[in-house]
Amino acid sequence: MASDPQSAANQRIVEDLVSRLRRRQVVGSRATALETLLVLRQVVSKARFSNIDQLVNVIRSVGRRLVEAQPKEHSVGNTVRKVLHHIREEYHTASEPPAIETSFSIAKFVLQGQPRRQTTIPRSETRVPLKENDPDDPDSFARVLKPVLMEAIQDVFDELETVYDNISKNAKDHIHSDEIILTLGMSTTVQSFLKAAAHYRNYTVIVAETAPSYGGREMAKSLSSAGISTFLVPDSSIYALMSRVNKVILGAHAILANGGMFATSGSLLAATAARSYSTPVVVCAGQFKLTPLWNLYHEYGALDFGDPSAVLGFEEGDLVDKVDVVNPYYDYVQPELLDVFITNYGDHPPSSIYRLLKETYDDEDNEL
């Protein structure tokens, strides 16, 4: 297949993203999601297939390569899973004559609940018959299905484009006048959420500067330039200030299946401090961060480490040999410390994240 010029072109764009992911030239969950989607669109538009399994296999193998290139950017895998889910959905609506449920069994009853009255919508449009594995014209399947698939991928695109607006839509219901909000790190989602609320409410934000990346400084600058009264504080004072804070608003890197999350280091500190004062912890995150994985073995870290020179520079030459310096990117925050996730698909408590996952992805894709 490698001699096939089309698959060679596919290979090239996949390899390109793989190396950029590996070098950490693309970082951040939304950026990687967008890049992945671009690659997948290319791949689908160029792919040759004569049945659905071939197509799914093509996408999976691309997905696997991308995920292996940078396993800590969970939104890459999530985007692949989501595209697969959409493709299967489109395929089922396009191919199946509305199946009449005849096979009802106890196992199905347990899984899906009570049988619904079948409401079969008579399809008025006469569709081009979808033929799989047509020996005379192996491309006919792809020709019929491709436009629908491209549309489906476009939908995922649109969702990513509008994700910030959709999350901030209800910001004014979560932030009230004269409240004091604590946040940390530089999260575009949280930033747009806070700015959206500022249109309606007068409130104060305390931003922890979030060493060593100092994303908090950037965040504070951006918020105060939007006219929000902002305080920039060192990370060490989070606990001391917590008694005055009404709400902690955090961003997430990935939301895990049990309702916990990976978030900028420092988040665990803020969430734990909030717990001891019973301050609500609110997480703003797009749906593309939902990850069907568990944080299995490493309790507190995401095992993703950044450049240690940000913590201890080489100018401290004498010391560098004598200490181990770690600079973890993310904390693991347990579901018990979080109160609500605000997503572009509504607000959810950590305990119902598993259901959102079931609706968003197909079970068989959890392992790509």
Binding site: E101, F104, S105, I106, A107, F109, V110, L111, Q112, G113, Q114, P115, A257, N258, G259, W294, L296, Y297, S351, S352, Y354, R355, K358, D363
Partner: protein, 330 residues
Amino acid sequence: MADLQIYESYQRLLQNEDLSTPLAAILALTEMMERSTAGTMFELLNELKGSAEALSRQSPNPIGLNAGCELFIEFITLFPHDAASFSELKTELIRQGQQYAKQALTYRAKIAELAFDFIKDDSVILTHSYSRVVLQTLLMAHKRKRISVFVTEARPRGMGIKTAEMLTAAGIPCSVVLDSAVAYVIEKVDFVLMGSEAVVESGGLVNAVGSNQIAIIAKAANKPFYALAESYKFHRMFPLSQYDLPSHNSRLLSFQTPSGNPRTPSGRRPSESSLAPNHTASIKITQEDIARNNPDIDYTRPDLISLVFSDVGSLTPEGVSQYLVGMFAG
């Protein structure tokens, strides 16, 4: 007569080592349907409900079989059919029941597969009493990872010893722990794996007595507590305390008076003579007395449970109620 017959067939089915109580109950009901002469759906359902009640009445610990009966009867009530004749429908329903029982035997392997990911290499696991699904999970984990297991003795039935014997035979390092030594051992443990009699609507767990205290200790020590339950053990019940379980009765944990009879409200205060030192020597409390006076199962609150592994997925305790609501409400 019919009541006796169904209990007999239930007991006979339970002889099969692989069949758990809910499945045995479903199969017993299908056998009853084969014998039944009911001519309409209404009659059949009445007979089924009667049999389920009879089973539940005669069994000392009905909670598992209740879950099975409840599932099967609800399924029959809602079964969408276009069968021409009633007898045809009946054979179809019987077939469904038997097919499910056969299919359900594969669930343990599925659960073991799900739980396997949560067992890391070199972990120390605490389990309680005897559970087929826990055993299967441990045996599977042993093939690919190093594990060692603490098993509680699980008085009064001592089923933990059976687990320990089977694990040792399979070459898994294993040690039996007294029920009263759980708090002592918990610090060495990485997580708790617990089987179940039933998982109830709150997401709580009904299992061999002692599970609750293990869950409380695990919570206090900040160790994960994982429950393993096949989906036919989901039971539509909402106990608020231990005493809401159907197995509870007033004879359990009643106070004994020195004369050996349970104290009655009109009971007299012990007289001087009964407190005489020579009297204490004549009182013997046997293990059987203790067992008779104690519960077999207890209820564990959902907030003590980290996850429930079942064949429908790894669920948070709250997730269980979604499936129950799907089946029994709406």
